[in-house]
């Protein structure tokens, strides 16, 4: 039960608090946002605390973000054991780095009278939570090795399930206590960000990289406009380029991140060698089919008669498919009198191909169940509005002369040809 609270309820409360609280604070309580630097009051310990702490925590957080947003990418990387070892070692080093820095900062805050003067209760809460969190992290790293690998198919899907609003805690319900605690404290810290000094993380002034060195603010709009025009011309082109470069590279990174998720989604899972061969085969077949179709087309454009079949091969109960002059499928049967019956196989309803089996004297269109009389082509039932059109044809004898008078005894020698023109 409390799993549901800690890993579904708490995360959503935390995310809501993070977003709403940060937006509120950045809009209505701007003055309260600051790094709240205490360097002015005490330098030395801050240097040995703040620098390792920030280097450590920013790297570690970066690693977490990569693991949660691009698990497949990370998994691919750490499938190489050397890379896995490197990640594991680096992670632990930076975590220890951060931990040492944090302890120095914490002790400084508790011991130095000047720093005490600028310490709020929330500062102490945050420092305690961070200490616990880092300790838990280090414990996990040492007790349950290879987190860079196992997290990609446990924690990452959990985090993603939270963010895709389909929370699924089955990934983590069976995790050891330390891991669960680490997750829960993380949500707690996220919840507190807008109400603590941690808000400074969102104040990171990246726009500094792209702005002009001087900033001028005008009270009078009119004056501003006339001056700005002059300024833009002289100075900003260079900076525009820089900014464009920055934004582009940012975008590229962003898109690579997204693409890492989207491309596999559309492409489906990575193929094995056998599957790849299969795919190639299919492609080849498709190309062959295209060639075939083109051949048929040219044949129909250049010839007045096209051979379909020997009459003796036609059957009464099962038609032979062929392609008519409209490049559409058609069917050839033998009638009860031994003469051929040729229908367009294109259903007159919505154009499906009619089946070639004759059942109870009727042909079936499988799409919306229209039945056509095999003898006349008329609609027996179903939505089809018109009978199947007949395909014009002729018979040729063994010497390739058009048969004018049918000789019943020579039926087996005759060949069926279709004739250029519309079906009727």
């Amino acid at each position: 039960m409390h799993d549901y609270f800690l890993f579904i309820g708490l995360p959503y409360v935390a995310l809501f608090s993070l977003i709403a609280g940060t937006v509120y604070r950045f809009n209505s309580k701007k003055f309260s946002i600051s790094s709240l630097s205490s360097q002015f009051l005490e330098k030395e310990k801050l240097l040995w605390g703040s620098v390792p702490w920030h280097i450590g925590i920013i790297t570690i957080l970066g690693g977490h973000i990569v693991a949660f947003t691009m698990p497949s990418f990370l998994q691919a990387l750490v499938s190489n054991v050397k890379i896995l070892y490197t990640f594991e070692a680096l992670g632990l080093t930076f975590a220890l780095f951060a931990f040492c820095g944090l302890i120095i900062l914490f002790v400084r805050r508790l011991r130095n009278a000047r720093i005490q003067a600028v310490t709020s209760n929330m500062d102490l809460v945050i420092l305690s939570l961070l200490t616990i969190q880092i300790l838990l992290g280090i414990l996990i790293a040492s007790l349950y090795r290879w987190g860079a690998s196992w997290s990609t198919h446990t924690l990452a899907p959990y985090i993603q399930s939270i963010f895709s609003f389909r929370p699924d805690i089955t990934y983590i319900t069976n995790m050891p206590f330390v891991v669960k605690a680490h997750i829960a404290v993380a949500w707690l810290i996220i919840l507190l960000i807008p109400f603590s000094r941690l808000i400074h993380v969102f104040a990171l002034p990246l726009e500094y990289l792209f702005r002009l060195p001087q900033i001028v603010v005008w009270n009078s709009r009119r004056q501003e406009e006339s001056v700005i025009t002059a300024q833009i011309e002289s100075e900003s082109r260079r900076f525009f380029l820089k900014a464009a470069f920055g934004i582009t590279s940012g975008l590229i990174l962003f898109i690579t991140g997204i693409a890492d998720k989207i491309i596999p989604f559309f492409r489906g899972p990575e193929l094995s060698k056998g599957e790849k061969g299969e795919l190639l085969k299919q492609k080849l077949q498709k190309m062959k089919a295209t060639i075939k179709q083109k051949e048929l087309e040219t044949e129909r454009l250049t010839k007045d008669f096209i051979y379909i079949s020997d009459l003796k091969n036609l059957k009464t109960d099962e038609g032979i498919y062929f392609i008519d002059y409209q490049m559409k499928p058609a069917l050839a049967f033998k009638g009860d009198n031994g003469l051929p019956i040729l229908y367009s196989a294109k259903c007159t309803h919505l154009g499906c191909t009619v089946t070639n089996k004759v059942k109870e004297g009727a042909l079936l269109c499988p799409c919306h169940v229209s039945h056509f009389n095999i003898k006349t082509g008329d609609v027996i039932d179903g939505p089809a509005p018109k009978p199947l059109p007949k395909v014009k044809h002729i018979l040729m004898d063994a010497n390739n002369h058009i048969v004018v008078n049918i000789d019943k005894s020579k039926l087996d020698e005759y060949k069926v040809y279709i004739v250029k023109g519309e079906n009727t």
Partner: protein, 497 residues
Amino acid sequence: MNIRAHVSVVFHLDKCIGCHTCSVACKNIWTDREGSEYMWWNNVETKPGTGFPTQWEDQENYKGGWVLENDELKLKCQKSKLQGLLNLFYNPNMPGLEDYYEPWTYKYEDLFNAGPSDDQPTAVPISKITGEQINIESGPNWDDDLGGSNLYAKNDPNLENLSQEEKDLMLEIENIAMMYLPRICNHCANPSCVAACPSGAIYKRGEDGIVLINQDKCKGWRACISACPYKKIYYNWKTGKSEKCILCYPRLETGQPPACFHACVGRIRYLGVLLYDADRMPEAMKVADHSLVESQRSIFLDPHDPKIIEAAKANGISDEFIDAAQNSPVYKYVVEWKLALPLHIEYRTSPMLFYVPPLLPVMGKMDNGIYEHAKEAFFTSIEKARFSTKYLAGLLSAGNEEIITSVLKKLLAVRYFKRSEQLHDIDKGAVEAIMREANLTEKEAEEIYQMTSMPTVYERFVLPPLQREEAIETKLDPEVCKGCTGCGELNTPKRGL
């Protein structure tokens, strides 16, 4: 040409008596809040001396201002913007509390609550930060009037360029001389604080050039503290925001001079408008040290020139502003008379506060143990002035002694001229020779005398009309912009959690 108006300032150092009235006026208005007790937006230093914060001129330590590298101006504290971001976590060039002083008060209630005893009750000093008793080891103006000069004055960074002999001469007890250097923010035309602020919270006002910090935008990254070579941005340890001199813009906008100007007992302060060509900034700061003063002067434009007036109007500068520029005492001191010089222009921020250097004449000297009026000349010759021109040049002309000499010659010539005019005890011919050498006409000498000794308050402060409310509000739709002008939304400036 992109003409802008700049409210700028002249301090006449010969007139400063070092009374600190200006500092106190400022403190009472602006910096008596928690976290700002140690700030002195206006302070008065004794030179030679280490200043406030101590040795602020030592840019090898604090890395303020700009440096010229391959014809590019680079911030000395951040060679690249990336370095600026890396310095967020720890600023290696920032002065700490110990470089200023720990603000304190006294435990006055001890005086009232003390029981009967044989000794006088005392009020012990307590820190205004921790509330604990402290030993006062430094304070504002700790080396005021050369107090403890052996310890402090000899650490003056400006003495570095002087030979040992010259140094000894300046610090020798009989020869010892001093001057006062009142300092506020220079509201530079090429401010390094603005360029260094990662949040983009510091800006120059377009209409008057005042440099301000947007307290809502400031995130306490502290880059400006080291970037300002004059150390005129202070970090409020309580609110976690930087603060600085605002040239009392709320007073200016209601037609009053800034508080320190108004309070100044020596009447050393002048305020007026300069017109300058914003397109030539920062290029004008990219010349060799010894040409910097001239280069800066060359961007100031003659407000009487009809062409300039036309261009100024095209840029939206109002008639009243142009009027103020024409009557500006600053224009006279800086451009017409070339008497006022920028402080440490080698930092290349193009400060818009100019100082008339002190003449410090030797009025007498020791002879056989008896102090006598100097006989050979009424006023000392410049060579014998108590402050070597080299020292003054280090302060006010980026080491260019010629500039200092010509200024001092002019100041001296004015004195000869007035003395001979009023008391007739100096030979006319000698005065004329001196005037010729100083390149000074009688008319100019009279004007300089009037502006230096006899100016009315309206001659010292020629305020342009800065009706901010009018400028903003007439152009905004009141429906769209509720509460976004004037004072804006009132939020108590409380430290964040």
